[in-house]
């Protein structure tokens, strides 16, 4: 039941932070409200507006605690009895304001003065409502380490004067990019885990999508928010086809398209079309458009590689990264011919910008394999294997190396 209303968590915490300025109090009161719901809803039934019910309970709890703290302060120091009244919280639960709070909270959690890992942890704790233990598990660090990370991040927000707000116009483009990057990182953390059904990891993907959905609703004039949501949905739609029964990676080409989630793909298409209508195609929209070329093809042979190549060309202009250039080389190979693609890869290798990156060699190996240049392909697979880090990728490359050396490819 609690998970059905997990989306309410961020709203409640965001509102209480604005009203009390106290992050810990906000989290504790949200927790109390969910606990209260668990006690009462099974007997009383779920209220008509569960979000408002939870918010009211959490707010009342906050008022109680603040009153109690004030009493304690008074007992300790009689003089303070003449101090200012604790600000009473009025009862307006105007939806707009609460939504604004959630946006404030997103920007504050993703403030660039916080370490990236702290931004990610804070986002999961305060916006998604994951427990410290869950976040620690997802990022493979001991729980006390994660707890310390969260405490430090909150202390910095309060102590360094990080404002609780949506940034003003001149900072907005840059800061929005920061929020999108944290959400995409969350998604990728969850998505990259290919081995086994790890529930916490899967939840990272779900939460990232939920937050991207919220961000898109909160920033309707920012097409990149929609672009990010579409990108996540296109990837997520393929999750069941990405690994086989023993957890090995299945390449896009070999995936069983029947396992793709058609509804999610349809939604991603709608979201992306809406974003592209703004006429400002940023990196997330472009990446989504590229993944769309794959997901909308009836089978691998139908893939519109020419379109993908020109999208990568646009992307390379906005994001001049060597990894983008490598993907562009693949699209060139698949649309204009393997030789043209291999030439692009040689250029990239000569630039030295991808030194030590196993996918440079794995990609060249794959193109050589397709060209039937098997001994050269085998060399390239060996170079890739010398650099690869993850087990599932190592198994995949080893399998391919076996194929090209035995000539069965």
């Amino acid at each position: 039941m609690a998970s059905a209303f997990a989306g309410e968590w961020g709203r409640i915490v965001a509102t209480l932070i604005r009203r009390t300025g106290d992050w810990d109090l906000a989290e504790e009161c949200a927790q109390d409200a969910f606990a209260e719901a668990l006690r009462r809803w099974p007997g009383d039934g779920v209220p008509t507006r569960p979000g408002a019910w939870l918010t009211t309970v959490a707010k009342n709890r906050a008022i109680d605690r603040l009153r109690r703290d004030r009493r304690r302060a008074e007992l300790l120091d009689e003089a303070s009895a003449l101090g200012p009244e604790v600000q009473e919280m009025d009862d307006d639960t105007e939806d707009n304001e609460i939504e604004d709070d959630r946006l404030r909270l997103m920007f504050t959690c993703c403030h660039p003065a916080l370490a990236l890992e702290a931004r990610v942890a804070l986002t999961l704790r305060t916006l998604a409502g994951l427990t410290t233990a869950e976040i620690a598990h997802a990022f493979l660090v001991p729980e006390p380490t994660m707890a310390k990370r969260l405490v430090r991040a909150k202390a910095k927000i309060a102590g360094a004067g990080i404002p609780y707000r949506v940034p003003p116009a001149h900072l907005l483009p840059e800061r929005t990019g920061g929020v999108l990057a944290v959400l995409y990182l969350l998604f990728n953390e969850g998505y990259a885990a290919s081995g086994g059904p790890d529930l916490i990891r899967a939840r990272l993907c779900d939460e990232a999508i939920r937050l991207a959905r919220a961000l898109r609703a909160l920033m309707p004039d920012e097409p990149e928010a929609a672009g990010l949501l579409a990108l996540m949905l296109f990837h997520h739609a393929r999750r069941r086809a990405r690994s086989d029964a023993v957890g090995d990676l299945v390449t896009l080409e070999d995936q069983d398209r029947g396992l793709w989630d058609g509804e999610e793909i349809a939604e991603a298409n709608r979201v992306l079309d809406g974003a592209l209508r703004h006429g400002h195609a940023g990196p997330y929209q472009l990446q989504a458009a590229i993944v769309r070329c794959h997901t909308n093809a009836a089978d691998a042979a139908e893939t519109d590689w020419a379109q993908i190549a020109s999208l990568y060309e646009l992307l390379a202009r906005v994001v001049p990264s060597p990894v983008v250039a490598l993907n562009q080389a693949v699209a060139i190979a698949m649309s204009r011919g393997l030789d043209a693609g291999l030439e692009a890869i040689d250029e990239l290798e000569a630039s030295g910008r991808l030194d030590g990156y196993h996918l440079l060699h794995a990609t060249r190996a794959d193109l050589l394999r397709r060209a039937g240049r098997l001994p050269e392909a085998a060399d390239a697979y060996r170079e890739a294997l010398a650099l690869v880090g993850s087990d599932s990728e190592r198994r995949f490359l080893t399998k391919r190396l076996g194929e090209v050396t035995s000539g069965t490819s």
């Binding site: 403030h111 003065a113 102590g159 004067g161 990080i162 404002p163």
Partner: protein
């Protein structure tokens, strides 16, 4: 909020070309920030060889020639800022010309 800005220079980035406009640009920065009322006070420090580090160990005053930390970045000056929040302090620090050839640490004063 009140912030202290440590203005640090990275020796490896100092060359005649990179410091050519520093004096002029620093004066312009001071004038702008004084004008906005965000700069309370500040100063350049004398050259690094003039630094002396003082420690008391086992009741004895122990002196060392030079700064307390031997790094390629050293404190060349400081400014005290009065800003609305960290975003404003970051903006002010980011406009300081030395940020291009070093690093600027922005830290709030501890609250009483």
């Amino acid at each position: 909020m009140r912030y202290l800005m440590f203005v640090c220079v990275d020796e490896t980035l100092v060359n005649p070309e990179s410091v050519k406009d520093m004096p002029r640009d620093t004066i312009a920065w001071v004038e702008e920030m004084d004008g906005r009322g965000v700069r309370v006070q500040g100063n350049r420090l004398a050259e690094l060889p003039t630094a002396t580090t003082v420690r008391v160990r086992a009741g004895e005053v122990v002196l060392a020639d030079g700064p307390f930390a031997e790094t390629k970045e050293h404190i060349a000056g400081y400014d005290i800022l009065e800003c609305a929040d960290l975003d404003e302090a970051i903006e002010v620090a980011g406009k300081h010309p030395v940020a291009k050839i070093g690093a600027i640490e922005v830290r709030p004063f501890a609250e009483d």
